[in-house]
Amino acid sequence: MSKDHSQKKQEVDQYTANVLQNGISRRTFLSRMAVGTGGLAVAGLGVGTASADPLVVGQQYAEIGGATLGFMPKPKEISDAEIASTQTFDVVVVGAGASGVPAALSARESGASVACLQKQATAISQGNTGSGIDLKNSDKSAIEALVNRLMADNQHRSHPGLLREWAYNSGEAVTWVIDRIKKGGGQVVDQGTGPQHGIHGIADKGDRLNFVTSFCGPKPYTTGDGMRALAKTAEKAGVKFFYNMPAKQLIQEKSGKVVGVIAQDRDGKYHKYMAKKGVILSAGDYQNNKAMCDFFIPDLKNFERKQQDRMGDGFAMAYWAGGVIEPVGHTKMLHDFDAGPASMCDMPFLAVNRKGERFVNETVEMSLMNNYLKDEVNQGHYSQVFDADYMTTAKDWPGHLYSPEEIKVYMPEEPGEKPGVFPSITNTYKADTLEELAKKLECDPKTFVASVKRYNELCAKGKDEDFGKTASRMVPVLKPPFYGIHRRMRISTLCSGLLVNTHHQALDADGKEIPGLFIVGNMAAGFYGGVDYPLTVFGLSLGRCYTFGYLAGKYVASL
């Protein structure tokens, strides 16, 4: 795409400049090796330290190199004789998830012929909520305040241009997705601004900030079902889906232009899908690839994975095509909205870890709680504990309370139908004594009872001398029955990845567009950057996936 042949270096934004400087690409790998050798030479010239130094330098670089090569082996050459079939389309989408299916359909609606290759037997996605901004009913200053807030949530490590790309297009995209899911027979509604509890106080008084909040549900219905409905609409519109057909490598011309994909069917045969306009990679995260996780997010070692088969296939393909992966310190998402009510997850009730000890100032949001539970004993487990009076003591807390009657759907011990939840992973309990509750929450009863006693003392004092929680949130656990929600922080997704510009086109190590290669969804870079995915906008993740799939599909079809 780049028609700028001038020698002058293109001006790049700070985010992109940083990823180019510090990200992982074939070029940085080589240049790092070179730097290592250079370091050797300098040390040898007598910087003044012991002679063992060069060896240490050499070892360090070898480790980085070894890790890179280990999880991203160079694709093997596949000769034309091994290709069982070749088909040509305008656009080839890799991955049928929350970004890939919208990308395929929007490209098709823009007139392109489209193939969508999927590793699994069906379209796959998770969660229920995908959000966008209702532009007509929002003020620009409020939207910019939200962008600013998201930058802060992301520890200022994301690309403001990409956040704005979501902010100013997501209302249209999410509305479109809702309509097209409905056309495929799916179960989806627009909940508007109602569920957005986290946005209060962002916009100035009088400024309007409203949302289009798509909801595929209630559970057990999820966005997975929604995307399967959307795939039906897409199929009707003429998108060709190829299931059980994992992409293996990109086809790249000598010039660097990406012109297609080689995939492998379940019999082991290779098939070529040529793309006249471009390939859109939307192949998801790498949570099941241990080496990649250990390298990019070592914090994840002890957490359970919610998904399967997420091997980072797309990362390897894009990397070998010259793409740049964001530097170490990728953003993770660990939640549990299923053990108890989602709307009570950020309520600062007493919280204890797996041993039964109080471990944190409970005003820390659930989305960040995993950072206190990374060890191999806790593995992301903790329990929220409250007593019979919670409906009055917590009535002004952030979120929405479920009454003792309503919360029964989250209690595996309660008989009867459990609408609106995943019954196999609910984890809320009630007991008449603290010891009994401790057992149900799988904590040591002695430790648990001691923790509650200490907490109640601090509440009586009105001073949290252990963790500094504000007095208004110090509510004792005194009156039976006692309640506990045992939450398990497991990995929903990882959401850092490959460098793209605001057209979702992949950039190479020189910051130049890789012709024919586009990347969307959770494997694309620049949208997050914090230690965890923020819950400020409920449904931001799926909203971004829908929006960027929708936009990329349109854009590539227009080329």
């Binding site: 069906t122 057990p220 997975g224 082991g268 399967q308 196999s424």
Partner: protein
């Protein structure tokens, strides 16, 4: 040295007896079960050396996934052969191991699904 060897032999003997009694309680590994039904190593792994890795396509040559899902449709609390993650096309080897003991792949996320996997 001699003593060490005797010790080793004893260990092996104990393990063998233990394994034998466990097997008798219908915990025969699936390779033996297949073998008992006349399915040889080469039936799955091919004749070439080194032996081919076995893909799911080998399993489905004999085991029809749709028919299997129908057969287990009343399974409680859920029909594992037609699930929310992969429909009828879950990789057989996720749970059914051939040369090792099979395992319940559901239970790590769904703690109350105590399926016993043949």
């Amino acid at each position: 040295m001699k003593k060490f060897n005797i010790f080793n032999v004893l260990i092996v003997a104990v393990l063998t007896v233990f394994a034998g009694s466990a097997m008798a309680k219908s915990e025969m590994l699936l390779d033996q079960y297949h073998f008992s039904k006349g399915v040889k190593c080469a039936s799955c792994h091919g004749d070439a050396q080194p032996r081919e890795a076995v893909t799911m396509m080998k399993c489905v040559q004999c085991h029809n996934t749709k028919k299997l899902a129908e057969k287990t449709k009343d399974m409680k609390p859920t029909n594992v052969h037609n699930n929310r993650h992969f429909g009828t096309e879950t990789k057989c080897l996720s749970c059914h191991k051939i040369h090792q003991k099979s395992e319940n792949a559901c239970v790590s996320c769904h703690p109350r699904w105590n399926f016993i996997v043949p």
